[in-house]
Point group: C2
Chain length 249, copies 2
Amino acid sequence: MTAYASSQPLTSANVVAQRFASLAPLAEGERRLLDMLSRKPRRSFEPRAVRLAEGAEVAAPLVILSGWACRMRELADGRRQLIDVMLPGDAAGVCARARPLALTTVAALTTVRAVDAPELKAAWRAPAQFPHLSEAVDLALAQDEAFLLGHVVRLGRQTAFERLAHFIMELEHRLASRGLANNGAFAMPLTQEVLADILGLSVVHVNRTLQQMRREGLIELRQGRLSLLNREPLVAAAEFRAPVSAAAR
Amino acid sequence: MTAYASSQPLTSANVVAQRFASLAPLAEGERRLLDMLSRKPRRSFEPRAVRLAEGAEVAAPLVILSGWACRMRELADGRRQLIDVMLPGDAAGVCARARPLALTTVAALTTVRAVDAPELKAAWRAPAQFPHLSEAVDLALAQDEAFLLGHVVRLGRQTAFERLAHFIMELEHRLASRGLANNGAFAMPLTQEVLADILGLSVVHVNRTLQQMRREGLIELRQGRLSLLNREPLVAAAEFRAPVSAAAR
DNA sequence: CGTTAGGTTGAGCAATATCAAATTCGGTGG
DNA sequence: CCACCGAATTTGATATTGCTCAACCTAACG
């Protein structure tokens, strides 16, 4: 856990701004609103803590300043499927309706620092006042959906090796867009068990697939840090589609 | 193909209204707007016709009056994964942004009759004028997302039998909500190949799993018509979660 | 009737799961 | 500094699920 915490950048204050600025050029006031968010009193969640249960009412969007979280569902016999991973700078619970209910459980995967951000929803709903930020939120939602569609294909039609490669490429893409990856290296605090629950595989098989990637010199993964050593084979296997920033359903 | 066409109800005119009315009580004017939609000049697509390619610009929402379509993605070697199935009364391409790009290919699975519905988007964006309809569209979007989340769990963590059961329950639920299912019987025009591409299975395995369900007296499936003969085992295997109508992310 | 799309069947195989037992590693208390 | 602890990772052996290939069947359609 402390290893995870220390893997978080000290610059978390501007991760949020950087993320949204990568989606649309922001005006000064809009940027200030985001900066203010990261100075609000933070809420902290420990790994495995359930932040929100499926079916509960969503009070306000939650913006993650540091740490990783996820949305997930469980089956009656304990099988677990992660729907998506939430990275620093991501927002959950941005929804048009007044009192939406959570469609999934939300849980922390590492120590998470986050803030409630009703302001973000307000800005989104007031495009006249916050045109670019509002647009950026729309694009963020579209991106989230695009990643979800990629997840469906990954689970439905890709092999274990391909799934892992695809997920790694997705992580790198998302982390890089908020300044959390350098030269194909980034913090990767997920356990193999969590990877298994994302990719619809068993832990043992995730382990063996990771070893294969190491053996073939494609990645290095040590102490919660992942480095891409040889991209081409990973890119080829993954068929990862970076969402065009202008794209959406 | 003609078998598919004949399996479409003659009542397609009010499927759309019935679908949205099931989400929120509509005012007279809102209902009229929907009725008008189904009297617009229709566009018709033959099975397998690609209606919209991934990455193309989405001009206006498309509302399906009759027939089944899907959103899908393909991998380089031809593997195909259906993201979701679009039934009569469903709308695609409702998006907040001005000129969104399609995140997936959209294709007809049977003969499809549909209308372009910029009015629907306009009504959605004008909640002051169309409060209930706007709310119904929000709910429809939330429902679509809920089904997508179920799809992720299905693909990631359920067995072939469970996936098929889950999909059957989803279809019944969705068709019933627009008056297209009676007593657990409904038109099911999908080939086993399409089922395979939805459920992430091979055609052969879909065939065998269907046979197992027949052998165990759970379903009857003949001539594009599916009947539920014994719900309990299917319900138990599926763990299908009907989206609470008030629920959303 | 021939053709074709869809469905069915069997045999063998590959991918992945399961089970059980090490082993490693960071942290923690003595 | 050492011994220990629990979580995470690794390994081996075996079992199972679902896939591939190849054929065959059937019904609709021209």
